[in-house]
């Protein structure tokens, strides 16, 4: 059995916020600087009554146009902005997509490392003979958590969803995995309120941090500096371990696809690890950081634009909120 990715499709919601619009809202924000350093020109935002579930459906619909839904026997749904705490949102997806009622389905809550974990679970299910055809959907709407006047987070994050089918297939495969978890960093990328630790905000005042950016305890908070520290201290080692475990060197890798956090961090990591520019994919120009959807969106774009071709070995690395991280090598 050779679990592998058979197809990927993605969906970006219709409303676009480009750098010029952000410049109008934040007069001291330089749109050229954002484009150059952060690598983002525009990001997509869901409407008020549109959720991660809605865009998940749209991504899945795209793939089900050509993939027979009757074959699917397991559904994995990764999101940090569910419609409901319960029931599992994957159940709603099964119903709305009219997938067979004989399938297994579950939600899992991960961000930037989500796709790597999804691939690992799918591989395990197939290898253990538990499932044959897995529909893995990532859908994220961080914009719903971000305060209107949070300059930095509004610049970085965009909404998006991606659907992937994983099956067993002779010539290609999903390789070995390395994971990591460090919950001591939990407060550095967090929505403090809404869960049971603090259901309603303890205080409602706006916090200005850093200067010029505003949020309340119901909004997303990201400590950019600490996240950067975490990344530079953990990702190079992760990449070393993934290559070792897959018995492969960076020279034998055809393309490197990291979680598309922002251009600055990715360039720094690339230089630090000595990975040649031509095999290191960086592109979040039209999407911003779509969290768990960045890797499948990047893979799809690479395939569409012939940056990756059949048989190529691709290093996938996800890292972020949690802290959580993971990597693998796939042969597409």
């Amino acid at each position: 059995m050779n679990p592998t990715i058979i197809a990927i499709e993605y969906f970006l919601p219709n409303i676009e916020i480009d750098n010029q619009q952000l410049e109008k809202e934040f007069p001291d924000w330089d749109s050229k600087k954002i484009e150059d350093k952060v690598g983002i020109k525009t990001r997509h935002v869901v409407q008020a009554d549109e959720t991660a579930l809605d865009i998940a459906l749209k991504a899945a619909d795209k793939i089900l146009k050509y993939y027979n839904k009757e074959l699917i026997d397991f559904l994995l749904f990764c999101t940090e902005s569910p419609d409901y705490f319960l029931p599992p949102n994957a159940c709603l997806l099964q119903d709305r997509l009219k997938l067979p009622t004989s399938i297994g389905a579950l939600d899992y809550n991960l961000g930037c490392s989500g796709y790597i974990y999804g691939l690992a679970i799918a591989k395990g299910l197939i290898r253990a003979g538990i499932a044959k055809s897995i529909l893995l959907i990532m859908a994220e709407t961080y914009t719903k958590y971000i305060h209107k006047r949070d300059k930095s987070n509004r610049t970085i994050f965009g909404d998006g969803a991606a659907a992937t089918i994983i099956e067993s297939f002779e010539q290609s495969h999903i390789g070995e995995f390395v994971f990591g978890t460090d919950g001591s960093g939990y407060e550095n990328l967090i929505v403090p309120c809404g869960g049971h630790r603090e259901r309603k905000a303890h205080y409602h005042q706006e916090i200005e941090d850093p200067p010029g950016s505003f949020r309340t305890r119901q909004n997303l908070y990201m400590n950019g500096q600490e996240i950067f520290n975490f990344t530079i201290n953990n990702v190079p080692r992760l990449v070393e371990q993934v290559l070792l475990k897959n018995n492969i060197t960076i020279d034998q890798i055809d393309c490197v696809v990291f979680h598309q956090a922002n251009k600055y961090i990715l360039n720094y990591l690339r230089k630090k690890m000595g990975i040649p520019q031509e095999k290191f994919y960086i592109n979040m120009e039209q999407t911003g950081n779509t969290v768990s959807a960045t890797i499948p969106i990047a893979l799809k774009d690479c395939l569409t634009n012939n940056i990756i071709k059949k048989g190529d070995k691709v290093l996938l690395v996800g890292f972020g909120v949690g802290y959580s991280w993971g990597g693998t090598v796939i042969s597409i």
């Binding site: 600087k33 952060v38 600490e226 950067f228 530079i232 720094y268």
Partner: protein
Amino acid sequence: MTRAEFIERLKDIMQIEENDIDEDTNMRNLAGFDSLAVLSIIALIDEHFQKTIRASEFKNVTTIKSLIELIGPEKFE
């Protein structure tokens, strides 16, 4: 890296051309000291001094001198 070279690198990061930047300059007063500059400074320190600066430590940095103190003056040539 010498202290003078370090100041030049900081000037690059914050896109400053003036020559009257020295160790007593308070970086927080400079227009170029934004969140992207902070990341670049952290990266510079990681690359050249192999040191991690926590956000809580960086909060107390004001002048370039205070940043040098945080890195450790002995680390400079």
